[in-house]
Amino acid sequence: METKYINKSGIEQWFNAIVSSGKRVFAPVNSRGQVDFKPVKKLSEVADEYIQTTQSIKASVYPKAEVLFSYEKVNGKVNLTDFDPESVAETVLWKVHPCDAAGFKPLSAIFNWDTADKLHNAHLVKTSVISFSCAAADESCFCTSVNGSPGNTAGSDIQLTMLPDGGAIAEILTFKGETLVALMPNVFEADKGEKKEKYLVDLPTRFNLEEVNAKLNKAFNSTVWKEQSERCLGCGACAFVCPTCACFDIQEDAHGSKGRRIRCWDACGFAMFTLHTSGHNPREHQSQRWRQRILHKFSYMPERLSVVGCTGCGRCSRACPVDMNILEHITSIAKQ
């Protein structure tokens, strides 16, 4: 790990070098009234004024629907074409928030908890993350309450902290990061000794994670779930914008004698998610599904995978049509 300084024009030259290297570059772009990660070619396309992209980088790294394998039956013989990890394009994510980058850890923990997930890992290997530390936050942000921070480097390959002169402190964190630096090493100057903390937004913690965890351990039968979830509509918006939600569905796209099996995003908040063929639904009510969502992230994952299933990005709160504010709900549980 190495810290360097890169000036304003250096940033642009380096960015252009990454683009010309042939890698796909995704960065936040402002279009249709929303800021989201999109393929970009020029630095000027990258959005400036925003707190958070609508969707997390999950949307750029993992396709919403992806072919696990395809098949064709010819003269009674089945030809199978498996997923090819090499088909995944090298991707660089530019201007990722630390809370997004931090999402890779819980995602990997889930996808690889017993057998390694070929697709997930292929995407991960091909992705490099250039994060920008956060100089601003809004009322939905709470990374500092879930072991994160505006300058958290977890999951990043390089982290830039923007300086008033337009340049940035560059923390080169991994080998992938070094590879990116190597595309234009000369723009990286020696560290000027600036403390990056000075440029980070001050985000006080909103709740104590251990305290919440302790409360949740005893809360399975609490009435709080019903109270909190009454207005929840049961859509999947929170799950789909979440950087750590990993629920998926397997579907068949069959056309006569050929077809493909598709993995696509799903959400534990959907009523159908746990519906059995028999008609029985172990999570019949919205309150049970809401409980599952919270307990999974704040209790089951820390317990079983040793990682908190939330990075405090606040996207679910922003995306929710009925203001299911996760911070408010967790805080209220902590206070109980």
């Binding site: 249709r32 009234g33 929303q34 989201d36 609508t54 969707q55 949307a59 919403k64 629907a65 009322e139 939905s140 009454e230 207005r231 509509l233 049961g234 859509c235 999947g236 918006a237 799950a239 789909f240 914008v241 569905d249 579907q251 796209d253 598709i262 696509c264 995003w265 959400a267 959907f270 159908m272 019949e284 009510h285 919205q286 709160s317 995306a319 929710c320 049509p321 009925v322 203001d323 504010n325 408010e328």
Partner: protein, 266 residues
């Protein structure tokens, strides 16, 4: 506001209703509130920022239970309630509807006829946002419209917030979840999304009251409400129905006229 809170508290404490569905202050704007006692009623608010269509909750049995309940309803919610009524989803005995009229007075409806008469006073108009986007769409060629919507559809990740927020999407099993046959591909892909939204619009023919809840709910900002709205604007005059003032003897697609348009039929 005080009148509403007092009345709600009264209804709850006297046991007239067991639940009042209304609005409270939310993070950035009002949000739905469920009060089951007079304490909860203190949080009630009702103003022009109360946008959510609360009719979406009144068909959820696990929520409203078996006892009588009240709902505070701006005009858009009232229209949905009327539509739900003709679709046999509501009963007069169980529902008390409260609104605040233009003069700020509290009004209570115990019958659907009263609601129908009240709703009839209000005209459904395009707002600025709808006007802006729709006139843009109306100015496009067919190919441009296809491109426009395919771009929009590419953002859809099928969270079904549009469906969840719609008071009229109360099916216990939506057609997208029907898999024998799989009418609509369940994965989020541009055309599969397009199919979903075309299907949604078809299912809303003669039913959509243009409350805008679906578009408001979309986390990725697709103006899905304008699909159903434009459909409604185009078809309501032709089929002779008024959104929110439904006919009991059948909706636009379950009825017909001898002289319905057919110049497109060769």
């Amino acid at each position: 506001m005080k009148k509403l809170r007092d009345r709600a508290a009264e209804l709850l404490s006297q046991g007239v209703v067991s639940l009042v569905i209304g609005y409270e202050e939310g993070t950035k704007r009002p949000r739905p509130l469920f009060c089951r006692n007079s304490e909860g009623a203190e949080k009630l608010i009702f103003d022009s920022h109360c946008f959510h269509n609360l009719a979406v909750y009144i068909t959820k049995k696990e929520l409203v239970g078996k006892e009588r309940f009240a709902v505070t309803a701006p005009i858009s919610t009232l229209r949905s309630i009327m539509q739900l009524y003709v679709e046999n989803q509501l009963s007069e005995e169980k529902l008390l509807v409260i609104t605040v009229d233009l003069s700020g007075e509290l009004r209570e409806f115990t019958t659907f006829d009263e609601i129908a008469a009240y709703v009839a006073q209000f005209e459904l108009k395009r707002g600025e946002r709808e006007q802006e986007i729709l006139s843009k769409i109306e100015g496009m060629t067919r190919e441009e419209r296809w491109k426009f919507w395919m771009e929009e559809m590419s953002h859809c990740f099928k969270c079904y917030a549009c469906r969840s927020a719609c008071p009229l999407c109360y099916c216990s099993k939506c057609v997208v979840e029907v898999n024998r046959p799989q009418w609509i591909n369940p994965w989020p892909a541009p055309l599969a999304n397009m199919e979903w939204h075309i299907n949604r619009a078809m299912h809303m023919v003669g039913r959509c009251t243009a409350c805008g809840a679906c578009g408001d709910a979309c986390p990725v900002g697709i103006p899905v409400d304008l699909i159903t709205r434009k459909m409604m604007e185009d078809l309501a005059p032709e089929f002779g129905y008024v959104p929110g003032q439904p006919a009991k003897q059948g909706n636009a697609l379950s009825s017909w006229k001898l002289d319905d348009r057919e110049q497109f039929i060769r």
